[in-house]
Subunit: 416 residues, 2 copies
């Protein structure tokens, strides 16, 4: 999740379109050493949002990476029984992901090809910066019913139970695969998913997808905490991307945790949670603050003055969201939240189809989301204002180590 440093060519410059006079930015420092790439002028300004995030590493980027502004998440169904073909797709996807996260178009010559052939890249991100794009792949439980993978299914990758209040729509639930695309520019995130879908044509098909426009969690210490659609700061108490000890303890799969192929990976739970905006907006401030156990203005825990003051759980109502979700109420259970707000127009009743696309990473779903959500689903005061309408769970394999490696190699390759 370190960010490349140094001059940061746009897609345009990278495919050699001349682009003289284009102002190109230098990536923000992310802990990586400087990589000299070209002679273009650095422009630190353009950069907070423009830089590239390193694709390779022990873990996939997009989990502990500082949360980008936008999300395009897609769940795919597999449409082939040919293991070779599927493995080839994973390799092709990896290569495309490697290029796109670096700000390059898919394919060596986006327009070097024949006029009679469709361009390798769909083109709408040409000229845009890498925008901190990360692409993170996950494997759903149903994938392990295919390709002779049954024995490789991690015990931690359980099917989620039905929780009280769940009102799941089939068309927003499940998936053999997922790709989470996060970027500071939505066009870059949408472009990435679209090009992966296109490369996968005939082998995989998009089952459902979700666009998120406002991050609701921060994993960057010191950054201003974003607000969710209920107007509350969200992500105050989260694991920071810099807390390597907590990441090792709660997020990354350890060597002894399950099948060896998952070491360095994580488990992702995605929940599409509708928020009843109209009802909430007619609720008193007092009730709103009681529901969370924090005040709306500062985000401070009940009885405290500042957002980052240590919560005193007993001062909160017994059914307050924070009191119920806090690790102290759950034998220390801690998850990494990485959700986004969404607004998908209006439903048939003229109500905003809006809410939280909840994304949580953890080392073991059985010791993370499941017990937490069991408790919340049964007791949370928030339940009056929300409804879970979509759900999926994925095993997120470890990172792609280098330019010869590919997504899923540890699962699919005999010589892993």
């Amino acid at each position: 999740m370190t960010e490349t440093q140094g001059s940061n060519p746009s897609r345009r410059a990278l495919i050699g379109w001349g682009g003289a006079g284009l102002a190109l930015g230098a990536a923000v420092a992310g802990g990586a050493v400087a990589v000299a790439q070209s002679g273009e002028d650095a422009d630190p300004v353009a950069d907070g949002m423009g830089g590239a995030v390193e694709f390779h590493g022990a873990h996939q980027a997009g989990i502990a990476t500082p949360v980008q502004d936008r999300l395009h998440f897609a769940a795919f169904d597999v449409k082939t029984d040919d293991r070779e073909a599927f493995v080839q797709l994973l390799k092709d996807w990896t290569e495309a992901a490697r290029r796109m996260t670096a700000g390059k178009p898919v394919g060596e010559g986006a327009y070097g090809g024949l006029a009679e052939a469709p361009p390798d890249d769909t083109g709408e991100a040409l000229g845009l910066k890498p925008s901190r794009l990360t692409l993170t792949i996950g494997f759903g439980p149903s994938l392990f019913d295919r390709f002779g993978l049954k024995d490789q299914r991690p015990p931690a990758l359980v099917d989620l139970p039905k929780f009280p209040g769940d009102n799941l729509e089939r068309s927003r639930t499940g998936g053999d695969l997922c790709v989470q695309a996060c970027a500071d520019d939505p066009q870059v995130a949408v472009h990435a998913i679209r090009n992966l879908a296109r490369i996968g044509f005939g082998k995989v098909a998009v089952r459902w997808s979700q666009l998120g426009f406002g991050k609701t969690s921060s994993t960057t210490p010191g950054a201003q905490t974003p607000r969710n659609l209920f107007g509350f700061k969200d992500g105050t108490r989260n694991i920071a991307g810099t807390e390597t000890d907590r990441l090792d303890e709660h997020v990354w799969v350890g060597a002894g945790d399950g099948p060896a192929w998952m070491t360095g990976g994580s488990y992702l739970v995605a929940r599409r949670i509708r928020m009843n905006i109209e009802t909430w907006d007619r609720t008193s401030l007092q009730e709103q603050e009681d529901v969370f156990g924090r005040d709306k203005r500062e985000g401070a825990p009940v009885g405290k003055a500042k957002e980052h003051d240590e919560p005193f759980l007993k001062a909160m109502k017994p059914d307050a969201h924070v009191r119920l979700a806090h690790p102290d109420s759950n034998d220390g259970i801690t998850i990494l939240r990485r959700g986004y707000s969404f607004t998908d127009g209006t439903d048939g009743l003229g109500r905003l189809d809006a809410g939280l696309f909840f994304l949580a990473y953890q080392r073991d779903v059985r010791k993370g989301f499941i017990p937490l959500q069991r408790k919340l689903a049964a007791h949370d005061a928030l339940n009056e204002y929300i409804q879970h309408v979509g759900s999926a769970v994925f095993a997120v394999p470890p990172g792609v180590r280098d330019s010869g490696d590919w997504w899923g190699r540890t699962l699919f390759s005999k010589e892993a």
Copy 2:
């Protein structure tokens, strides 16, 4: 459409939350004189995207204003027969719009009120910058069936005819009113529409709404032209916000054009156009370029080298989009395009529900969109790859002149 200059307080600072240490930006120069507002440090960097656009003026902002990055567009149905109540709503909306576009929350004391009452503002934009938010209101044909307005309906506000190929969904068509919210931060645009909907509760209800994530047209001379979801530069030939003569000729309603209450206003056509991404992506580069009559890489007209070279229409295929849409093929017809790309997940067949939310402003729909679209609907090569699925037309009244004025006053007030 000038932008306020000088120190540019965030919503947070404006409602007096102390917010010490918050870095606040100064608005970019937009031709306005400097307005000293506070002692906070100016931060020109944060500003390209953060500033406030002046709400008051002869014309509504959001038309000739340099196009912001994001859109939330809502069409409303009126739910009351009480003219007084409706006029009061327009006044309340104006006041809220005035505050929100300045980066302030709705209501004087967002949290100064009683804990027993719902907060005046829903809160999710607190701490965010004004983000160049503009709010633009329009009145649909059906509004004139109400409130004794029949005689005031402008002849130019015709119901759109059915064009060949139209496949309009009722749930995305029409509306008594619309509000176009544009901002560089989607959370700010969504917040604005939501709060207007909330203020309108019981009097109006959202009929449909559309989120746009990528502007597809530029109205800023010299700026890099954005690309649409077919990967082509879009907006190359458009009216620039600085071309006052062309705006007067093609966009603003003149004094002799129709009912006096519309002078200084404009007419808006909104079309939700699905783009068949999957088909397009399998089409050869040659065919793609033939369809538009421009090349994909540079955006240059056929036979020319550069994007802004003068098109030679006869070099293009007879059914090329640009050839058919160019003013020279249409007795000079010129519209101001202000559309946005959208991606609303996937449809039941696993295809991206993506396309162009086409927005065009013009002085008279009968001499702008209608003849143009008649021709395009009949002949455009692009039709193989697109489908119009939503449609609406609105009379956009002139600007709110000052702090005592309100949206629609020229239509509703006896002393107009």
